[in-house]
């Protein structure tokens, strides 16, 4: 099944700049959402702004560490002092919060999931998006990683899959040419798709699965 990819968006934010970026985009709207959920939303909203469109939306994102740093903060700041963990640092809510926050921003979200994936398992994302497109008009797919140290940027990369063609969209298909595909990772596959501007298809592989991304025109 062919699906179509729009608005690959690669966001890198230095940890020191992050609070100001969130305030600039969302004012005080997300002040209680927690850093991981804020990071998801910053990239997801940028992608949706670029892609446009409407219709039922699935939201699917992957992370290696998820809200692990937020959980550590909660454990350090709250539990060590014997205080109750607050909802926005509570590990059970935070990774999943981004989908609900998008729905609260009037996006018609119908389903969401946060996956924890090894670096080469990124093809799980377009495959699951393909399945979800049987029920949703669009599926927003992201790879989000919070920085664990000051010298490394936060990452929030997103793209939008649709089942119908659209202006500027890339055709995406599973490829049988895994051997000739370039290795990609959860961290770099969306930035590589975003940077691809040649007429020939981009073939990327993760594990034993390969995907082809080609201009639709």
């Amino acid at each position: 099944m062919t699906v179509y990819l729009l608005a690959p968006t690669s966001l890198r934010v230095a940890p020191d700049d992050f609070p100001a970026r969130v305030r600039a985009r969302f004012a005080s709207e997300l002040r209680r959402a927690g850093r991981f959920a804020q990071l998801c939303l910053l990239g997801a909203q940028a992608c949706l702004d670029a892609a446009g469109g409407d219709g039922a939306l699935g939201v699917l994102w992957a992370s290696e560490f998820g809200a692990l740093y937020a959980a550590r903060a909660a454990l350090d700041e709250d539990l060590r002092r014997g205080e109750a963990a607050m909802p926005f640092t509570f590990i059970a809510t935070q990774p999943h919060l981004a989908g609900a926050l998008l729905a609260q921003r009037s996006h018609p979200v119908t389903r969401t999931a946060c996956l924890y994936l090894p670096a080469d398992a990124w093809p799980s994302l377009p495959r699951l998006a393909q399945r979800w497109l049987a029920e949703c008009e669009r599926v927003l797919v992201g790879c989000v990683e919070e920085s664990g140290s000051g010298g490394v940027a936060h990452r929030s990369d997103w793209c939008l899959f649709r089942k119908k063609p659209a202006a500027g969209a890339l055709r995406c298909e599973r490829s049988l040419e895994a051997e000739s595909a370039a290795d990609a990772t959860t961290e770099d596959w969306i930035p590589r798709v975003a940077a691809w501007h040649r007429p020939a298809p981009l073939l990327l592989r993760g594990g034993e699965d390969a995907w082809s991304f080609a201009s639709d025109g």
């Binding site: 509570f90 590990i91 059970a92 999931a113 924890y116």
Partner: protein
């Protein structure tokens, strides 16, 4: 009959280290949850009665025990078993390891999911997934897709939630916990009691007694920590599940409720049920006996319910004593003869709502 079937299930929970002991205990008198020092000691908690080793060693021992039970029931040849893909749903993964071992013990979620898969003796691809309290059913949803597309004949689904202080502290911070007991649908209900469980469900394209006729998902964005009072999103998911299964509402014999004893959440689900059903069919909640096992609750409650039905019983709803006139629901146990279609509800933080349609196939 084609589709996806529940081939085998296994469970370790507060009711017992295995499914047989859990079903037997569930048929007896209710047992109140104890305060648990491993989760801070301030709140009642449904703990798995397996001890020994540190947090991680205990989790692995529980996983090996559940794996043994599942393998016996599934009766799959070893080579096929070893190749099974494994989808793990949890809301907290290994965060409880921090309680004893600090930072060094806190591993990324995927690594902990892989650890569980190894304890089950499977080497296929592992996927770890979190959609808060619906994580286990979301894992099942992924498995259904893999089978429907013909990628696999069988998929192992795990719902895992092990004791930890952070989760209990989070629910306490939200003032969602009862200080005494979970009383689903009861007039005196005053909150949830949390619990731990490890449940394994092997789903298969090969016919088995229960077919998964449909699984519907929805989003209730009214609040990130609770449903809209009208239960509209819950009703919508239930309606979608019945539509996917091609059932009329009158065809439903039993509803497995999400209900865990929260005032607002139980009320919202009751509103949804009353909107779709008149009269309301039989209903059951398992959270008074298992506790709310969060990301494990889908597979855990599925395993326990199907095992009870296989033994001819709709389980009693522990903690329910007096009908709340506003809810209009009176869950009750009894003879399972005639129960052929079950609607199975689950919902969680972040607005995740799911409804599973199960029908007897053999």
């Amino acid at each position: 009959m084609t589709g996806t079937f529940v081939r085998a299930a296994a469970l370790a929970s507060a009711l017992g280290p295995d499914l047989d002991s859990a079903v037997e205990r569930l048929a007896g008198a209710p047992v109140a949850p104890a305060r648990n020092t491993k989760t801070g000691g301030a709140w009642p908690y449904f703990a798995i009665p397996i001890s020994g080793g540190d947090w991680r060693e205990r989790a692995e021992a529980i996983a090996r025990s559940v794996a043994g039970d599942l393998r016996r029931e599934a009766a799959i040849e070893p080579a096929r078993w070893a190749e099974l893909p494994c989808i793990v749903g949890s809301s907290s993964f290994s965060v409880g390891a921090w309680d004893e071992g600090g930072w060094a013990a806190l591993e990324p979620s995927f690594e902990f999911a892989s650890r569980l898969a190894r304890a089950f003796g499977v080497r296929g691809a592992v996927t770890a997934l979190s959609t808060t309290c619906t994580s286990g059913l979301s894992a099942l949803d992924v498995a259904l897709g893999l089978i429907a597309e013909g990628e696999f004949r069988e998929v192992l689904v795990l719902g895992a939630e092990f004791c930890n202080r952070l989760t209990v502290a989070g629910f306490a911070g939200l003032e969602l916990l009862s200080a005494t007991a979970a009383r689903p649908c009861d007039r005196e209900r005053d909150g949830l009691v949390l619990g731990e469980a490890l449940a394994a469900v092997l789903v298969s394209a090969a016919p088995s007694p229960w077919r998964i006729a449909a699984l519907a998902t929805g989003m209730d964005a009214a609040s990130v920590t609770g449903p809209a009072a009208d239960g509209a999103a819950i009703a919508s998911a239930m309606r979608a599940a019945m539509g996917g299964a091609r059932w009329e509402s009158a065809a439903v014999d039993l509803i497995k409720l999400q209900s865990g004893g929260g005032r607002l959440a139980d009320s919202a689900e009751a509103n949804a049920v009353r909107e779709l059903f008149a009269p309301v069919p039989g209903a059951v909640s398992l959270k008074g006996a298992l506790g709310h096992t969060l990301g494990a609750s889908g597979p855990a409650e599925l395993a326990l319910l199907l095992a009870s039905l296989a033994r001819g019983r709709v389980p009693a709803t522990w903690g329910f004593a007096e009908r709340d006139g506003e809810l209009g629901l009176a869950p009750s146990g009894g003879d399972a003869q005639g129960v052929r279609r079950v609607l199975f509800n689950l919902s969680g933080f972040g607005g995740s709502v799911m409804s599973l349609a199960l029908e007897r196939a053999l």
